[in-house]
């Protein structure tokens, strides 16, 4: 998930360019190896380093935040790194929450400070939520913000709703919190649930 600074057409143009930089065919995310036919998946922190080189602030007078994750769908092994982005939530089936907060500053600032990378192992039923700051910063008429805590409560509520109805419910909650005032910022949330881990003998 990416959030480009500013609004309107210039920000949208950068978002399109970024989507190419992150596509498997044309981007940085997959690398051919000299020695084998197999393609290598580039690690999250390396992808962020590449983006930081390619999109310095000076180029478009824009920076962006990103949460970038690589999940092995067979083993459940997850690697992640973020750049100035709200940490994604990893929510286990028992309701425990981990914030996936490894990373560095916004892409384009060029401080020379490196991006850290984190890892986790998902089990069946574990959920990941990636979102943009438009959700916690949604304000009501009094100027009070929705905040991370309300978001976390909503996402960890027991009994667990299915992902689609959980997100629909979140949008309703946000709108009623904001007493139907229009959002000042755009909102993105992406949810995934790990449904099946393959045993070693079932893996490709």
């Amino acid at each position: 998930v990416i959030d480009v600074s500013g609004h309107g057409v210039p920000s949208a143009m950068l978002t399109v360019a970024l989507s190419r930089s992150l596509s498997a065919e044309t981007g940085y995310t997959v690398q051919s190896s000299m020695h084998t036919v197999a393609k290598q998946i580039v690690s999250p922190c390396e992808v962020l380093r590449n983006l930081d080189r390619e999109y310095p602030f000076e180029r478009f007078s824009k920076f962006f935040s990103i949460s970038y994750l690589v999940l092995n769908c067979q083993t459940g092994h997850l690697r992640f790194s973020s750049a100035g982005h709200p940490p994604p939530f990893l929510i286990r089936t028992d309701g425990t929450v981990r914030e996936l907060d490894a990373g560095g500053t916004l892409i384009g600032i060029g401080t020379g400070v490196d991006f850290e990378e984190g890892a986790a192992d998902l089990e069946k039923g574990d959920r990941i939520f990636l979102y943009t700051d438009g959700i916690p910063e949604r304000a009501n008429a009094k100027g009070e913000l929705f905040g991370i805590e309300r978001l976390r409560e909503k996402l960890t509520a027991i009994p667990r709703a299915g992902l689609a109805s959980l997100l629909d419910g979140l949008m309703v909650t946000l709108d009623s919190f904001a007493t139907h005032q229009p959002a000042a910022d755009d909102i993105t949330i992406c949810a995934l649930e790990f449904t099946k881990k393959l045993e070693a003998n079932e893996r490709m």
Binding site: S5, G104, T105, L145
Partner: protein, 113 residues
Amino acid sequence: VNIENHVELGILRVRVLDKRMDAHGAPDFKQKLTAMVERGNRLIALDISNVEFIDSSGLGVLVSLLKQLGGQGEIAIGGVRDSVGGLFKLTRLDKVFQIFSDPQAAIEALAQP
């Protein structure tokens, strides 16, 4: 964005009078600060104690100021409220800018020899 500014002891002191540094006020704010750097100011102490909210466009003004200085100057930001400080922490720009809750501390940071 409305500001007050003056130079004292070689430090440009800029006080933001508005409550918000957002997309609405960013172009004007950027223009004002750019002009001050073009006039040769290199040490800039920003007092944002009135500011309750900064969005990505507001942050963009601070970053462009940093880029304009290009390592030939320093920015210290004082009067950073908790709500605004959270944003600097989240984006890790607290590693890029010198951030202080006390406006005077920002000036003193730049006054160090």
